[in-house]
Amino acid sequence: MKRFIRKIVLFPIGLLLAYGILYVSYDSYLNHSFSNKDSIFIWGDSQAYQGVDLKALSQVTRKKVYSSAHHGAGVYDFLNFVDQVPEDSELIISISKLSQIRRKDKDYNRTGLSFWALNQLYGHDYSFNDVFSIFKLNIKPKRNILESTKLYAYSDSMQEGLPLSHFESYYEEIPEFLDEKQDLYLIGVQKLIDKNCKITFLELPFQKQLKAIENRSPIKGETEAFVNQISRLFKTFEKDTIRLDKTKNIFNDYSHLNLIGAKDLSLKLGENLLKNKNTTLYIAQ
């Protein structure tokens, strides 16, 4: 019996070691073979994934552009990105309004394993079970940093996508977790500042019907206040507007740009990045 117990106790230690070595090696191969010299890393959810044309942005800035934006990316994915990104990196961060008000179980939560990020969640309204289920989703390393994205094709009219009722239910009332989620985002932004990263914030546009829902909602005040909270973390913080060319349809659906919109935004954003060296929030309209 003693022999059995000894082996049962020692077995997981060996397993953890073997697993750790394998995880770190594979994760390094997938996500850490990118140099941050002359590079820009983007973080965001589907709005940023569909809203930024990596090629166009790279063309203007003459830098390599990587995207870590994923559909449904949420606060855990942001904190994981923050933990993962090298010091002194240049970043474009898009903490969308939808990623703030999305229920935590609907977040993507699959961008890799960060014990720092898990620990932050546990201290902020996430139960042990919540944290453990996120841990389980990330026990296999995944490619988190993409060199190319697949944008929505152009169409003369907007696609239906998620119905307006979906957004109406989101914007009905202020979710009770909003403060905690925003606090977590602020922790992430602060860590990026500590890592001496150059950050540009980006707010992607909503189609006018969704915008109208947002304008009517009490949540609008909360998300605007959140921008102010972010601004207070920086010595200088500017806001600027990027006006998109609307002669053609630029939306794929209520919350995502199509290829034309993404290209237009990326070219204009790139030009701004070349001119403006301060921390700025660009609001695309």
Binding site: M1, R3, F4, K7, F11, G14, L15, A18, Y19, L22, F132, I139, K140
Partner: protein, 482 residues
């Protein structure tokens, strides 16, 4: 409590420690611990249904005690029927009530008589088909005087509710399992290690093979009208692997867990997909149920001793009842009947016991003839599984006609195809490991035993990492619904 859950990962070590370190001085205490642990294990789903197990235990225990002293044949028969009616009564009510009601209403309306009857919202207690059959085997064996009825109600309760096999088998015979509760169990290192290895392999089958295949099988079966023929074939293959990985994986975990506590359960699956004919398949698939039906239904009906008509009748009865045991749906009945049709030619030509030994014993590869026989049997099995998986008979026929269309020769096409490739690779590796271990109780029983320790541990670690990295979305064990 699911075997592949965190709850069970906590529950098992606690029970193990209490069993071997706290209650090990007394056999009665160990048995009592098993009863309590089993009730907790079962009550984790729905504690209300514990009463069914307790009631069934008390009825069969009392019937057993009465049968011990009762010599009058008629009274003995009455006692037997009390047990059968109570057990099958529960099973019938919870599992088949709505099915019979709906079919009676449909049948009467067919003849122009409208009957107003509303079906009940009945929840099927998990594992009822398994423990019902297990307790019935006790009463029948006591009735036939093959088994001495027990005086020990704790041992009997432990036999009925033994948690590793309570909800999905193997359906143990009282003659095999009950006596093990009377004997003092001593910890056996090699038995425990073997149990752990079998648990590991069972988890691999369930989490990596079955759960991954389930995602694609569900996607294809649920949208079968939109799929081309080759995709439908792929869907049926995915389900074929899903059901095997799911159910035999559960059995492996159950048998392995039992070994940790010093018990030996019967082998439930013996590499059925390497069978050379359907008769061999049924000797290797869900062995505990097939032998149950053989001993308590087929042989009492006369088995294959009578004339041709009797053989045909008994074969159909046993296969259809076996199908119906799986669920209250015509699809299961057709699945059973189809297997009877497969089986009959072998029986009538006296070829049903042709392939008793393991295929290609001692060889690395099968002969061309063996390969062809296995292939044909496998295809027949896949075809039958379509009925088993389909929502209803119409769905099954639509699925089959979809396969038999011109699109059979197109390339498979469904949204998860790219993701399915890694699952297909894993299925290939799985088949190779199963083939290499087909002469044993489970595929990795002997694998790596003679290797140096670091290499053997590397194999264990690799299996665990595959479980973590390639495990599919957690799915309920299919056989829980039965």
């Amino acid at each position: 409590m699911l075997f592949n859950s965190i709850d069970f990962a906590i529950f098992l070590p606690i029970v193990f420690i209490l069993y071997w370190f706290v209650t090990n001085k007394s056999l009665k205490l160990q048995n009592l611990l098993i009863v309590l642990a089993s009730y907790v294990f079962y009550g984790w789903w729905d504690w209300r249904f514990l009463s069914l197990i307790v009631f069934s235990t008390l009825v069969d225990y009392s019937v057993g005690r009465k049968l011990k002293v009762e010599e009058n044949k008629r009274n003995r028969k009455i006692l037997l029927w009390v047990s059968i009616l109570v057990n099958l009564g529960f099973l019938g009510f919870f599992k088949y009530y709505n099915f019979f009601l709906d079919n009676f209403v449909t049948a009467f309306s067919f003849f122009g008589t409208e009957i107003k009857a509303s079906s009940l919202n009945i929840i099927l207690p998990v594992g009822i088909s398994f423990y019902t059959f297990q307790t019935l085997s006790y009463t029948i064996d006591v009735y036939k005087k093959k088994l001495e009825p027990t005086k020990d109600i704790i041992a009997f309760s432990a036999f009925v509710s033994f948690f590793p096999q309570l909800v999905a088998g193997p359906i143990e015979r009282a003659t095999n399992l009950l006596p093990q509760f009377y004997k003092k169990r001593t910890f056996d290192y090699s038995k425990a290690v073997d149990g752990m290895r079998q648990i590991l392999w069972g988890l691999f089958k369930k989490v990596v093979i079955a759960d991954n295949c389930a995602e694609f099988a569900n996607q294809i079966f649920n949208n079968s009208s939109e799929m081309n023929g080759s995709t439908l074939v792929l869907g049926a293959i995915f389900f074929t692997f899903q059901i095997y990985g799911d159910f035999s994986g559960y059995s492996d975990i159950a048998i392995g867990t039992s070994r940790l506590f010093g018990f030996n359960l019967m082998q439930n699956f013996a590499f059925p997909y390497f069978s050379r004919d359907i008769a061999e398949f049924w000797r290797r698939w869900h062995i505990s149920l097939s032998t149950w039906f053989r001993d308590y239904l087929y042989i009492p009906l006369g088995g294959s001793r009578g004339g041709t008509l009797m053989k045909v009748k008994n074969t159909f009865i046993i296969f259809i009842v076996s199908g119906f045991w799986h669920g209250a749906n015509w699809t299961f009945i057709v699945w059973g009947a189809l297997n009877a049709i497969y089986f009959l030619p072998l029986l009538l030509t006296n070829n049903n016991r042709r392939n008793l030994e393991v295929v290609s014993q001692g060889n690395i590869l099968p002969s061309a003839k063996e390969f062809l026989m296995m292939f044909v049997t496998f295809v027949l099995t896949i075809f039958a599984w379509i009925f088993f998986r389909a929502e209803n008979i119409g769905h099954a026929f639509d699925y089959i006609s979809g396969i038999l269309s011109n699109s059979l020769f197109e390339f498979p096409n469904f949204s998860g195809l790219h993701a399915a490739i890694s699952t297909i690779v894993l299925m290939g590796i799985f088949v190779l490991v199963e083939w290499s271990g087909r002469e044993h109780q489970y595929a990795i029983e002997n694998l790596g035993l003679k290797w140096k320790r670091p290499l053997r541990y590397a194999m264990y670690y690799l299996i665990i990492i595959l479980i973590f990295w390639f495990g599919g979305k957690e799915q309920q064990f299919i056989y829980f619904q039965f």
